[in-house]
């Protein structure tokens, strides 16, 4: 058995996939990170407090994990869901009653979404309390605020998709605010003076109509499944990259001066 393994490890195919052996040496530990496309997001060495849950709370990482869970479960849900008013609710019923593991996938998607909003907030709270937005990490905090807003928008657009009473009324309450936008809403300060009506103001653009209806469903669906995740991915890439560029995780000794 050992012979076969040794033989296997000598083959060209094996060597082309695995670039280093697994002996516990510092060099291999470093290569394990650098040679792996997923792990090379990390530096090779970090200060010990970066692995201390009491310091980091792990909230940023958990947020990213939940984003991945949401992407995977979201893609599965898309196989069963049609974003048209006459089908959407029926598809939900079908998913919850007849699809194998349908409820599990949908529950995971919803609970992970709620959890992600919470972990984003807690991540921000931790970053504030450790003063980690201070130089040189100012801009990464700004990127983080954009990601917070994108998370809320992703959750909000997803809220409409089940197309039940809870969905349309929560979104109605939320989007009603838009008509009070100063200058751009038909009930906002100076809106009517600028020619805003219920059928041409900013809320109309958002909803694709004068109330939450079928065009809103399609708009929110495209926003939820394509537009917002793409934007969020771009900002996440910048966010993670900036952590490295700004000197890794913040700490009393690693303020980017190293």
């Amino acid at each position: 058995m050992l012979k076969i393994r040794e033989k296997l490890q000598q083959t060209e195919v094996w060597k082309s996939i695995f670039r280093h052996n697994y002996q516990d040496t510092n060099r291999n530990r470093a290569l394990q990170i650098v040679d792996n496309v997923f792990l090379h997001l990390h530096p090779v060495r970090i200060p010990r407090h970066a692995t201390n849950i009491g310091f980091t709370w792990g909230m940023g990482g958990i947020t990213f994990l939940l984003f991945l869970v949401l992407t995977i479960t979201g893609v599965i849900l898309m196989f069963y869901y049609r974003p048209a008013a006459e089908y959407a609710y029926e598809d939900m019923k079908y998913l919850m009653n007849d699809v194998a593991f349908g409820p599990l996938i949908r529950n995971m998607h919803r609970w992970a979404a709620h959890a992600m909003v919470i972990t984003v907030m807690l991540h921000m709270f931790r970053v504030f309390l450790t003063g980690s937005y201070k130089p040189p990490r100012q801009f990464n905090w700004v990127v983080g605020v954009v990601l917070l807003v994108l998370t809320l928008l992703l959750s909000f657009t997803g809220y409409l998709l089940p197309w039940d009473q809870l969905a349309i009324w929560a979104v109605t309450v939320g989007t009603n605010m838009a008509r009070a936008t100063p200058l751009l809403g038909h009930q906002g300060p100076f809106g009517p003076e600028l020619g805003m009506r219920i059928d041409n103001d900013v809320r109309f653009v958002l909803l694709g109509g004068t109330q939450v209806g079928p065009p809103t469903l399609l708009r929110f669906y495209v926003g939820h499944c394509i537009f917002l995740p793409l934007i969020a991915t771009v900002f996440m890439a910048v966010h993670f990259w900036r952590i490295r560029k700004d000197g890794g995780i913040s700490g009393p000794t690693s303020n980017g001066k190293e």
């Binding site: 970090i46 609710y89 599990l104 992970a112 709270f125 909000f156 039940d164």
Partner: protein, 294 residues
């Protein structure tokens, strides 16, 4: 009493209970760490600053953390179904109609401000204000470790905004607001027919100046009164500047940065002020104009 159970038990409210617990635990924990650092004269984080290898030290923590979260998430998803109510019906408005839970703080603000402030201006200022934090907080201390002593003002302000104005208003909106957005105790049955007489007055009327004249046109005296109050409130920025402009902190901040901080700070504190005026004195508007009200 079973109303409490009903509220906590509602699938969509469970995350809010979780949020509340987590926020309390983490606030306690971070202040414990901060005060410990302040007291002992050295930093716990500095003691842990020697470099270690990411593989296996960090990867292990990440893996176990991911496992832990996934176990909770899968169990949660097996045990509790996501809500699915009746099909959407635009002609049947539920009472109360609540926004998604993370916007309930903003919805609560609607009681105290008109929609253009509560729904548009305030959220925009929250976002802009958060983004501005790194640029207006010029205190170099407290970078990368828990401390309270070295940055009291910024920590207290953020905690006030996050814990009181954001989290507790979400909890209030979830558990204390019932039909008609009226105030109900969580253990009280929701009475959908409750009517509360609106006895709200404007601030000027509190001092005997009527907002509108007998023919329903605006009373110029009330308008002037309102403008004076609002302008007076924000002119505190300038007053404080003139009093303190020679102090060291003001010189370091500079005129421009100070104005941004003061404006954001006063706008934030306007919310609790307006809440007190409304809840304790039934005051609706401070300034009424033909175009907008504050």
């Amino acid at each position: 009493m079973h109303n409490v159970w009903e509220l906590i038990h509602k699938p969509d409210n469970i995350p809010i209970v979780g949020l509340l617990v987590l926020v309390i635990v983490y606030t306690w924990w971070s202040f414990y760490k901060a005060l410990k650092n302040d007291r002992q004269g050295y930093l716990d984080e500095a003691k842990l600053s020697e470099k270690i290898q990411v593989w296996p030290n960090l990867v292990r923590v990440e893996f176990l953390g991911a496992l832990f979260v996934m176990v909770i998430l899968v169990f949660w998803s097996f045990l509790i179904d996501a809500p699915l109510e009746e099909a959407a019906n635009p002609t049947l408005t539920p009472n109360p109609s609540k926004a998604p839970w993370y916007f309930l703080g903003l919805q609560e603000m609607l009681v105290y401000f008109d929609p253009w402030i509560a729904g548009v201006v305030m959220p925009s200022l929250i976002i802009v204000g958060l983004m501005a934090i790194p640029y207006i907080d010029i205190n170099e201390k407290g970078n990368g470790y828990y401390t309270f002593k070295e940055r009291k003002f910024s920590v207290l302000t953020f905690c006030f905004g996050f814990l009181i104005l954001w989290v507790s208003l979400i909890v209030l909106g979830t558990f204390w607001r019932g039909p008609g957005w009226y105030f109900f105790f969580p253990w009280q049955e929701w009475d959908t027919h409750r009517v509360v007489a609106l006895t709200n007055v404007d601030l000027s009327e509190f001092f005997g100046i009527h907002t509108r004249k007998a023919d329903n046109s605006l009373n110029p005296a009330a308008l002037i009164f309102g403008v004076v109050i609002v302008v007076g409130y924000y002119s505190l920025i300038g007053l404080y500047w003139f009093q303190k402009k020679n102090s060291e902190i003001m010189k370091k901040l500079g005129f421009f940065r100070y104005n941004i901080i003061a404006f954001l700070f006063l706008t934030m504190t306007a919310l609790p002020i307006k809440m007190i005026l409304r809840i304790a004195f039934n005051i609706k508007y401070i300034l009424v104009t033909p175009w907008f009200n504050i």
